[in-house]
Symmetry: C2
Subunit: 242 residues, 2 copies
DNA sequence: CGGAATGTTGATATGCCTCAACTAAAGTGG
DNA sequence: CCACTTTAGTTGAGGCATATCAACATTCCG
């Protein structure tokens, strides 16, 4: 596995330009590694963390815990992502962050990240930009879950995940490990498990994509894009991977 | 009407601490005033603006334009908000920004805002924090539109709007001008107009709140909070207005 | 090997959408 | 200022997509 500094630098460079000094500053970050079991939380709603997690491997999710105990999954994060960067400036977490499947994260103290902002504003701008892209992904999720059919929602979600996985380098050809359950998928797209299952079977039968046992396989990318009304502009990548 | 500097300073201070030097830096911003007619756009999807709008009066919205011409409204903004601050670091707009009813905005050049960051990092952090709170509002909208009944969605939306309007100072006692049509409400909550209408009549009949002719009146705030499962933590206000 | 969690499938119920017909309000031009 | 047009709001009837429920199959994991 790459080290945390390299993972972060590689990620930031996908969206921003960094100078040698910026990179040196990032390399000065200390961190500690944390290995997560499936469904283990990194942070809980209400916590006030003093470090931010950088995903090194596996899938990490952000979710709301509802009054009745249900969950609403908000986003999924992979190697290079900073799923709780917002805690740098907002003390109390309004949502939780946890692993889907096994994952490894590097915990970087806020203090060091903030010091970097003062010394190299450019590093701050790059991380700020990451949080802005997060926001764009949230906006797209609003539209996806509000204005589209189950079939389209599902296709769109998998388009986004696969596209980002390609950018992140964790997708192998047309396949990707994404160990999420149907129940979690239901709590992501805002529909019942039974409906998730049926939509999944439909995409499988039409040889568009196949998701089973936590593995996503793309069989017909153009068709999946069309079904999902997917337009990757909102991901704001400098070099589109596909 | 207050001037733009004062509006911005007042807003940032609701979430962040600013020193005298920070405030002086903000006062150095140049801007020009732009008056908007109902439904006029400030920026369109695909634009690459070089200035950010600060809302001075009226309601401004952010929305996605879908393939079939429909709209998905994403958020609403009022005096003090910076609805397109993200364009500071993301060149191409992935959504549009426009007025609901008549509105007035101040356009501040990106160049000047970025210069302020270099001179007073604290000013940058305060604006960054605003964009992070925006993201929290988006997350809440995902949950609202995905995991709640129409009735609850509607109550939650009006709770948020009224709460923020109080913080912003534009609500008078228990009433607020919010000149949105039922069709726009439908395109916000992801439901049909007919359903919006019926939910509205239900809230009116139960004397919880009344929305008509672009005016929101709260009749029973505790009840509205309960119906909407509203918890304002995600708005991250230093001093809750209610 | 046994138990729990997850996935599968059909039958039934229902909330919401669609459509349509109508009313009310707002904007426009003579 | 009024007639006209357009837009917004209202309401009921009917249909459909999706939720719910239940029973069972499969996989995972200790």
């Amino acid at each position: 596995m790459e080290n945390a500094h390299q993972t972060l630098i590689g990620k930031l460079r996908k969206h921003s330009r960094l100078t040698g000094d910026d990179i040196a500053e990032i390399r000065s970050f200390s961190y500690f590694i944390r290995s997560l079991s499936p469904n283990e939380d990194v942070i809980r709603q209400g916590d006030e963390p003093d470090a931010s997690a950088l995903v090194l491997s596996g899938i990490v999710t952000r979710y709301h815990l509802l009054d009745d105990g249900r969950r609403q999954y908000l986003s999924f994060h992979m190697a290079g992502d900073l799923p709780d960067a917002q805690a740098l400036f907002i003390e109390k977490m309004d949502h939780a962050v946890g692993a889907i499947g096994s994952a490894v994260v590097a915990s970087i103290p806020h203090r060091e990240i903030k010091r970097a902002f003062e010394r190299r504003p450019n590093v701050g701008f790059a991380i700020w930009k990451e949080t802005l892209i997060d926001a764009a992904i949230f906006r797209e999720a609003i539209t996806n879950n509000s204005a589209r059919s189950i079939r389209t929602r599902m296709a769109h979600l998998f388009c986004e995940i696969f596209y980002r996985a390609c950018a992140s380098g964790i997708a192998k050809d047309d396949t990707l490990s994404f160990p999420i359950s149907l129940g979690q998928l239901a709590d992501t797209l805002g529909v019942a498990i039974a409906s998730i299952n049926r939509a999944l079977h439909e995409l499988r039968a039409s040889r568009t994509m196949d998701f089973r046992n936590g593995r996503l396989t793309i069989e017909n990318w153009p068709k999946l894009i069309e079904i999902g009304c997917f337009n990757p502009v909102y991901l704001h990548l400098r070099k589109p991977p596909l």
